[in-house]
Symmetry: C2
């Protein structure tokens, strides 16, 4: 095993990277009709030429520059720090970013600012894991329960999860951790696919993609709904026919409805036996999700990709508003806030099925779901992680899918390094794609 | 009465304006220890040289540039529009900003993005009111209930307030509206002061400011707490002695506590008979506020200045988590979202006591509290609007206070134009103050 090599951050660079996905309607849904999958991409250089940390937060095009600006506002909090300084009291370092007295006004812990915090912390964890010569999941799995708990900022959550309760959850899993690690190394973590069901895809395209998904072993298929009930019924019927009665069909409304609308709409889709309805209404509406969950049972409610921080997840759990937790690795501020949410979910008995897709999310959740299974939840029951197969060519080490299972990452780091070619092409507005696009649109 | 003169927006400029208030600890509290009161300041030029709209959103220094960037991302949605186009279907225009498909990912309707939306919409309303030749409050007061309701985006709130219910609240107040308008023109709207009680002020300074406040007629005094219980007890005791048993003392924790901490802390401050505890915990924690409100009654819970949007306020009302609503005119997206919250508060019987201070907030709430009293609430019972007397010299038309009452604005517009001198001095980083500061810190 490699020993720890410390590194000091000497510079922080952040790039606005945008891929013109809106051209093919990849990623279109009821609320996001023309996304250009993008990211704010952080590069941390160190005093060691062989150690560099990279991290990102996913965005949809416009507004990425605002996230970039927020990252730049945190530079002084990061540059000069060594990894051993940061991780000596990680929770305090975390709070120095999330509660910077001037910056927190434009959050706090939400929106562009929190997305920026995620990009910075994801890069810091990437660097830290490279210092250890291990992938992120393995760094965490090799920590003691006390070490994991020391990462967590418990502010605002102690009424739902105390430090002692967190420690107990981790300690209870400790003795069987290695068995689950071996299991994951052998089998990988089960995934579901969203690739077949975007709005804007034709029946032919859906049928083709759905059949391909079944062939490689997917047992859970998700489709987008909410634009038009008749079209949704047609597509639900088509997919249910294709997958049969036993596989799971999930539907995703991307926040399209008011509370009562969601309840009425789901009564019409109930005949297709959806496993969950995802994002039925505003991600801010805890009580609304609770009302929907109560009204549409046994259909379950899933949400989380746009839930801003641990305080919202705490309440979704307290209010029994969320049956599946779909935390986002780039909206929560780095692995420690994701682990915080996983621990709360373990206490409340709610499975975590992380949100993925976009840019880099598959790579991040590939690490995080292993941590949940091995250290926290200890079970695979009702757990599937989202997988969307696109833009893998952007990554130096894209996530690896085999027989519908995420394979354990082996490379040191947190795993979201973009290739030099991708950066040269898609950095906005100076990359070759955008320069060409700009010159042709000016013609 | 002047008739409506239309105007077309031909340019949008946004400035980052920062005042170095951290030097005197003006505005310091338990969470914001060194604020430089700042704003993103929007200037809309039109095809009419005599009509220009200005609007702002308040910030604390760092991060203002990110809000500026978000404003710039909305330019295309605004430039070219005439006021009659915008106000023909204002709710649709509003949603075109709050739900822009790429931008909403970095919100939605929260954080830097929503603050930027507020700055843009505040400027648009300023322009619209100037087209009418009236101050904002008078433009709204002269609308029919139908016209007011047409301004509102009901998405995500229909489970708490329907269009018909909103219409009924406004219609019920219609026949007595003119009496309340006359009352306000004569007396003004009652205010309370926060000037005496900032953290970091000495006993002598508190005593002096408190006596001054009593002399000009203030009957409600608020102080900051949460840093140190012994110091808070000392300051509460001092102020209670100075104001006597009948005047109201309010305390403000600025989100310092966890739920159980807040309950314990307030039990210790109860002997000083605080009227409300403001921001006891995270602004995102609806269920936490509800638990605190239940535990510390009859002390009331006030919150709102950092509550991100109407969906949070809806839940605070549904959960009986907020006894006083302190919505912020620059965090909610312009007057229509503030009116939306006021209508929900009217339905749930919760008084609105708007947040002020900062830069421009006194000027904005001065308009908005009149709308609430005249058109919506119809009562002054338990209603006081915050007032903080500083930085008035920045404004062309600062709010006017007389015998502790906000006086009705008379100038056309929404009232937050900064003077050319203020812009020349404090625009960041090119203003004369910052150029000098930068050159002296480089010496």
């Amino acid at each position: 095993m490699q020993s720890f090599v410390d590194a000091q951050i000497v510079s922080l660079q952040v790039l606005d990277v945008r891929v013109p996905t809106s051209k093919d309607q990849v990623g279109s849904d009821a609320m996001h009709t023309n996304p250009d999958y993008s990211c704010a991409y952080v590069i941390l250089k160190t005093n060691n030429d062989h150690l560099e940390g990279t991290g990102l937060t996913f965005t949809l095009g416009k507004g990425t520059d605002a996230v970039v600006q927020c990252v730049n506002a945190m530079k002084d909090l990061v540059i000069g720090k060594t990894m051993s300084q940061v991780f000596k009291d990680y929770a305090a370092f975390y709070r120095s970013l999330t509660s910077e007295p001037q910056l927190r006004w434009i959050g706090p812990e939400k929106g562009a600012l929190h997305l920026a915090t995620a990009a910075v912390l994801n890069a810091i964890w990437d660097l830290y894991c490279k210092c250890h010569g291990k992938p992120l999941w393995k760094v965490i799995v090799d920590m003691t329960p006390q070490q994991v708990v020391s990462l967590i900022d418990f502010r605002y959550i102690t009424d739902a999860l105390t430090r002692d309760e967190a420690l107990k959850i981790l300690t209870d899993r400790e003795s069987t951790k290695r068995q689950r690690e071996e299991h994951m190394l052998k089998e990988g973590f089960p995934a579901y696919t969203t690739s077949a069901g975007w709005l804007g895809y034709s029946d032919e395209k859906i049928t083709k993609l759905c059949k391909e998904a079944l062939e490689v072993g997917f047992t859970h298929i998700k489709i987008k709904v909410g634009n038009d009930i008749d079209d949704d019924i047609r597509r639900c019927r088509l997919i249910r026919q294709l997958i049969g009665p036993d596989r799971k069909l999930m539907v995703d409304a991307n926040q399209r409805w008011d509370v009562d609308q969601a309840i009425q709409y789901m009564k019409r889709l109930a005949e297709f036996d959806p496993w969950w309805i995802e994002e039925p209404t505003s991600p801010d509406d805890i009580l609304g999700h609770a009302a929907i969950a109560k009204a549409i049972a046994p259909i379950k409610v899933a949400t989380g990709e746009m839930c801003q921080n641990r305080v919202i997840f705490k309440q979704l759990l307290q209010a029994k508003a969320m049956d599946f937790c779909q935390a986002d690795s780039c909206r929560l501020a780095g692995p420690s806030e994701v682990i915080t949410v996983m621990l709360m979910c373990a206490k409340f008995g709610v499975p975590v099925c992380m949100h993925a897709g976009g840019i880099g999310l598959c790579e991040y959740v590939n690490q995080l779901c292993l941590i949940d299974y091995i250290c926290i939840a200890g079970s695979l029951e009702n757990r599937v992680t989202e997988y969307v197969c696109h833009l893998t060519e952007l990554f130096i080490n894209p996530s690896v899918m085999k027989s519908s299972h995420y394979q354990c990452p082996v490379n040191p780091g947190y795993g979201c390094g973009l290739t030099p070619a991708a950066l040269a092409e898609y950095t906005f507005p100076s990359g070759s794609y955008w320069v060409k696009e700009c010159s042709s649109s000016n013609k």
